[in-house]
């Protein structure tokens, strides 16, 4: 089991090499080092997973101590790893997808002036992500949590010369920090209540029933943790950073802002299931926020022109699904969808990357079209991802979304209805995207020459016709496409085939996640209705956008502008809030607080100047001063006479 250490050690080693190697490792050595480390980490994870399979289901939780971090009185924080089905699930797909995307990046980032820096961040990200999921305590997880946030910052702002990238990076970090505020408050509450952050100390007794949690405490804890998740996983109201995060290189969008980091919130909620169990209201909040986000983001995705922004909103929407599943009590479904989403969304982003790559940094779908024949591999793989995301059977998305919708139905038909509508919208905007990019007429021809070799993403490519990406990029696409097509087999809802569910079962004992039975008929009905909606959306999208890219009626400004929510928030921040801050800073601080201090100094100087007037230089005036002083003393003492 010492492979467990290797899971973390390898990416960390890669990070160190790339940090201190600097530019000397160069292009493409940096990429290969990073990929090697990622793959090594994945292999180590697989080894650990295999060895865990050897344990009985009940004893599939292994702790690995590292070292004492913060020993202060009753607060004794140690770093350690907890290897259990839940953490390994995340570790597996994170390192797996991470490896593929790192590999893909070798080709994608070719020629970039900061090649080494990119892979440094990629490895550091992987390390942080693995810390996040493998940590044995909330606090250690928080370390990884912040680490991935930092990497996200660094990678969104990777092309820092672009102001938009720099701003987006900062926005992502700040928004994440709002969520972290919740996470930290939750940590403090945990410390106050349990005097520990360890999963084994905090959660295990709750899960096993040895301890119960008062409703208010549970709700507070759960909601604060969920606030953290909302920030990291871009849910209402903290979702606005994710679309902007598309400023980063596309592999980053694929890895961090689709497949792995943004699912950290899902992980956190799943991990905290024992706490949520004691707070039905918190569960409702999770489910409702998830459903609302899913719907809202899906509507916005329908109006976007940027190939990556569509996928970004789609990610937000799909994350909403995951929370809907978890909030509905079916953690397995949420996690299943997370894993599936990792496959197909990574695939879609990488495919989009291949398109952007081919078109020399063009991201506007309105300026694409007809790429099917130029980019065969990309097109086919993208199609797989598109169908998986659209929940068309038998692709991945269908199965996982079906499980979530079933759970939502069980929770409340209203949630289910939202989910179904969202499913239709999802199919619509994805089909819109697919036909705008790959179908129809080519709308890019004229622009190819203009761009020439200028685009730095395109690196060494000359101008001219778009052509397929090199193998180092297409191989990951193919692997992910396969995953998107048959990945669902890991948790097929048929007797005996629900491997994932059984694997996760020890983490979610019936006490905290009571299984519910949805009648088979209902199940079929739910699946059928959802599929019908999805096909409806698919057909609508295809028919609407097959021939033309200009349909203003279907792209109202309100959708293109994401319901103006971002603008409103910005206006508030730069308007009244900025004025308030400015008032505090210049009015109160410079004016009042500092003014008071300077005023005292001024008073002293001024009184000195005024008093000089009494120093007339005339002897008799001085004598008068003495006389007045004498008189004053006499007068005072006269009042004390006889005493």
């Amino acid at each position: 089991m010492d492979a467990a250490y290797a899971i973390l050690a390898l990416p960390l080693l890669g990070t160190a090499i790339l940090l201190f190697g600097g530019r000397r490792t160069g292009d493409p050595a940096s990429g290969w080092i990073a990929t090697a480390m990622a793959v090594g980490s994945f292999v180590a994870t697989v080894v650990v997973w295999a060895s865990l399979l050897g344990h009985s289901a009940a004893s599939r939780t292994v702790h690995k101590g590292l070292f004492t971090w913060i020993p202060v009185g009753s607060l004794h924080v140690s770093f350690g790893l907890q290897l259990d089905p839940l953490s390994l699930t995340w570790a597996l797909f994170s390192s797996g997808v991470g490896s593929l995307i790192t590999l893909y990046s070798i080709g994608y980032m070719k020629g970039d002036s900061s090649y080494g820096r990119f892979f440094f961040y990629m490895n550091l990200f992987l390390f942080s992500m693995l810390v996040l999921v493998l940590a044995d305590s909330y606090l250690f997880s928080f370390v990884g949590w912040e680490g991935v946030g930092y990497c996200s910052y660094g990678l969104i702002g990777f092309w820092f010369e672009r102001n938009s990238a720099a701003v987006a990076a900062k926005k992502a970090f700040v928004t994440n920090r709002i969520g972290d505020f919740g996470f930290m408050i939750a940590l403090f509450m945990m410390f106050g209540h349990f005097h520990s952050f360890n999963y084994s100390t905090v959660l295990a007794p709750l899960a096993s029933g040895r301890l119960t949690l008062a409703g208010a405490t549970a709700t507070g804890l759960a909601l604060m943790l969920f606030l953290g998740a909302v920030g990291k996983s871009a849910q209402i109201p903290l979702y606005m950073w994710l679309p902007d995060a598309m400023e980063g290189p596309t592999p980053v969008s694929a890895l961090i802002h689709a497949a792995t980091m943004v699912t950290a919130g899902v992980y956190l909620v799943a991990r905290s299931a024992p706490i949520l169990h004691f707070s039905p209201s918190a569960q409702w909040v999770v489910a409702s926020i998830g459903a609302a986000t899913a719907l809202l983001a899906a509507t916005i995705a329908c109006g976007q022109d940027d190939i990556k922004r569509v996928l970004a909103y789609s990610t937000i929407s799909q994350l909403g699904y995951m929370f809907l599943g978890e909030g509905s009590g079916d953690y397995g479904a949420g996690i299943f969808h997370t894993v599936m989403h990792a496959f197909f969304k990574a695939l879609l982003f990488l495919g989009a990357g291949a398109v952007i790559h081919a078109l020399h940094d063009e991201q506007d779908m309105k300026k694409m079209g007809g790429l099917w024949k130029y980019l065969p591999v990309s097109s086919w793989t993208f199609l797989a991802g598109f169908l998986a995301l659209s929940a068309i059977p038998p692709f991945d998305g269908f199965w996982s979304k079906d499980a979530i919708l079933a759970a939502a139905w069980h929770k409340s038909p209203a949630l289910w209805a939202v989910g179904v509508v969202t499913a239709a919208l999802t199919a619509y905007y994805m089909s819109r995207q697919f036909v705008l990019v790959f179908g129809g007429k080519a709308r890019w021809v004229d622009r190819a020459a203009e761009h020439g070799a200028a685009g730095h993403e395109a690196g060494g490519h000359a101008g001219g016709r778009p052509h397929e990406a090199p193998p180092v990029m297409t191989v990951p696409l193919v692997i992910l496409a396969v995953g998107s097509t048959v990945g669902w087999l890991m948790n097929a809802p048929f007797a005996g085939l629900n491997f994932l569910e059984r694997w996760l079962a020890p983490v979610f004992p019936a006490r905290i996640a009571p299984s519910f039975a949805v009648a088979t008929g209902t199940k079929w009905a739910i699946g059928t209705v959802a599929t019908a909606f999805a096909i409806l959306g698919l057909v609508a999208g295809l028919s609407a956008w097959r021939r033309t890219a200009e349909r203003p009626a279907l792209e109202p400004a309100v959708l293109a502008h994401a319901w103006y929510i971002d603008e409103t928030v910005s206006a508030a921040a730069s308007g009244p809030l900025a004025r308030l801050a400015s008032g505090v800073s210049f009015g109160v601080d410079a004016g009042l607080v500092d003014g008071l201090v300077n005023g005292v100094g001024r008073l002293a100087a001024q009184s000195g100047r005024q008093l000089r007037r009494f120093q007339t230089g005339y002897v008799r005036n001085y004598a008068l001063g003495i006389g007045i002083g004498a008189a004053a003393i006499l007068a005072y003492l006269a009042t004390r006479m006889g005493g």
């Binding site: 009185g73 009753s74 010369e161 720099a166 209540h193 405490t217």
Partner: protein
């Protein structure tokens, strides 16, 4: 934790010579030597000064190694000074002061060696070494008069460092700094004298300034007196730290000072306030402290929020960094007055971290300033393109400042907040917003300086030289080490903190002090002379150097007590 048997050997391990006295006087001697170098030979002056600073770091490093992780003062050395007033030269070090001394020595070295210097190196080195002696002297003082002397003496070199090597408004800034702090000390001074005078009757009518004795005696004062005296202390230290609303000297002084000056001003001198209020205020006057804790906590929280808002509005890099110090200092106070082991330890750790972080920040600001001249955001941007290493180092320091886990800032911030949360929940919740606001202003600043398109002079900024990297490297190493593995520090700090809190609680059972060690509140301490506890006076007070090994038998019991304090406590009413 030191095992039971080693406490006696703490004494035995004491050197044959008074190391702390040497540590205080070494920079002073260096200053005198530097001043004696002929004015024409600036290079020699610089070498002499640096040699003194390096030697100081060496001695302090030895101290770190020799220090035993138990409560109480170690390496105590004592000399009568102004006997008729009960004033003595008495220095000692405990877990709380140890790391402040260490980080001060380091920061002074970096501040002297790192930034390039215009003007007279001789004068600069002399003032810096004087300041170092005074700061470290204050941290090591076990005599309140001595502390006050050191505390006040710092002003003179600091004044000249700002006024002599600063920016365009340096005279204004230096004067404001001096007078403001001097005025703040007025209250501290009078309170100190009142304390000494009022405790004299309980001390056979003799005034004493001895920290330990006063700690014992002050408990006997009337409650109101304790509160008033504490209030006087608090004003003095609140100005020094500074705590909002006494901060208005800070942005001017920190901004106008030269790089080296800003580093030590913001990195070391602020800690005199944070340390003083804990050592003198809380330790001696626990009842006053606990009565006024809500006020100070509130000021701290106001400082955290208000300071953040004001910082966000700054349009000059150095001024922004200067303002950010207000927030960091508020964290120190917040932790210290949370009266929980985590809070106090966090507060002390925050001081150490702040020294490293803000020292490095000001250093990096200096590096940028040297290349670009201007520090206004409107004139900066895109520097990362031409100077990626500079940007990376700057970012690392910024991340430390915003409290990214894995770097030092997080550990102390977390301890402070967690420690405050268990005793003063809502204060902690409001203070936690700092993790958001800190990111806003620091990342905004970073973005404005390093990101975006590089215009004009920003496009050809020189990369950091190896010398500059070497100068900041010790600070970066500290930042990383304390972020990843603060345990060695905390292990040495915690016994002293526990001791302090036990004292606070025994003095004021009503104080909101969570129990820190499972029921073992009867806190006995080493009776050994070299391990001078807060609750016992050394038998041979007045002896110049404590006899080695004296009182070893008493060490056993005390060791047991101190190890008991390390046992993780039973959960207290966290939901209180």
């Amino acid at each position: 934790m030191g095992s039971v048997g080693t406490v006696g050997s703490v004494a035995a391990s004491t050197l044959g010579f008074p190391i702390l006295t040497v540590i205080v006087f070494l920079p002073l001697g260096g200053a005198i030597l530097t001043a004696l170098v002929p004015a024409s030979d600036d290079g020699l002056a610089r070498r002499v000064g640096l040699l003194a600073a390096v030697a100081e770091v060496g001695f302090v490093a030895y101290l770190l190694v020799a220090f035993k992780p138990v409560a109480g003062f170690q390496f105590v050395s004592q000399q009568p000074w102004i006997g008729s007033f009960g004033i003595a030269w008495k220095v000692g070090v405990d877990g709380i002061s140890l790391f402040l001394v260490a980080v001060s020595a380091l920061l002074f070295l970096v501040a002297m060696a790192g930034p390039p210097l215009r003007g007279s190196a001789r004068a600069f080195m002399t003032w810096m070494l004087l300041l170092e002696a005074a700061c470290i002297g204050a941290f090591l003082s076990m005599d309140l008069f001595l502390f006050f002397v050191m505390f006040e003496v710092t002003l003179v070199p600091a004044y000249f460092l700002v006024a002599g090597w600063g920016g365009p408004r340096r005279n204004y800034a230096a004067m404001k700094f001096f007078i403001y702090t001097f005025a703040g000390s007025a209250f501290f001074f009078v309170a100190l004298l009142s304390l000494v005078f009022l405790t004299a009757p309980a001390h056979h009518g003799h005034a004493t300034f001895d920290l330990i004795t006063l700690t014992r005696l002050a408990g006997g004062l009337p409650h109101a007196d304790q509160v008033l005296i504490f209030a006087g202390f608090a004003v003095g230290f609140a100005v020094k730290a500074p705590l909002v609303p006494f901060h208005s000297w800070l942005p001017d002084a920190y901004t106008e000072a030269s790089t080296g000056g800003s580093m030590v001003l913001a990195g070391v001198m602020f800690a005199l306030g944070g340390y003083g209020i804990l050592r003198l205020g809380v330790f001696i006057l626990p009842r006053g402290a606990s009565d006024l804790a809500p006020v100070l906590l509130t000021l701290a929280v106001v400082g955290i929020t208000y300071g953040a808002v004001v910082t966000i509005m700054q349009r000059d890099l150095k001024r922004l960094v200067a303002y950010s110090a207000i927030v960091s200092v508020a964290f120190v106070v917040l932790g210290e007055f949370a009266f929980s082991a985590q809070g106090v330890a966090g507060g002390v750790l925050q001081m150490v971290n702040e020294s490293l972080t803000i020292g490095a920040l000001f250093y990096m600001v200096g590096v940028v300033a040297e290349r670009r001249g201007a520090l206004r955001f409107s004139e900066l941007g895109g520097i990362q393109k031409s100077a990626p290493i500079l940007a990376a180092v700057f970012l690392a320091v910024v991340l430390s400042a915003v409290g990214l886990p894995g770097l030092n800032g997080f550990v102390s911030e977390f301890l402070v907040l967690a420690g405050t949360f268990v005793t003063h929940r809502w204060w902690a919740v409001v203070a936690t917003t700092a993790i958001i606001t800190g990111v806003i202003y620091f990342l905004w600043a970073y973005q404005r300086v390093f990101h975006g398109p590089a215009r004009a002079a920003n496009a050809a900024v020189r990369e950091m030289s190896w010398g500059e990297i070497a100068a900041v490297a010790p600070l970066l190493a500290g930042i990383a080490f304390l972020g990843v593995y603060p345990a060695p520090l905390l292990d040495r700090l915690t016994p002293s903190v526990d001791h302090l809190l036990a004292h606070v609680q025994s003095a004021d059972p009503a104080a909101h002090v969570p129990r820190i060690s499972g029921g073992a509140l009867s806190y006995s301490v080493p009776a050994d002379q070299n391990v001078d506890s807060g609750l016992q006076t050394p038998a041979g007070a007045g002896a110049t150097a404590a006899p080695v090994g004296a009182g070893a038998p008493a060490g056993a019991g005390s060791g047991a007590a101190s190890s008991a304090s390390a046992v993780p406590a039973a959960p207290s009413g966290g939901t209180r």
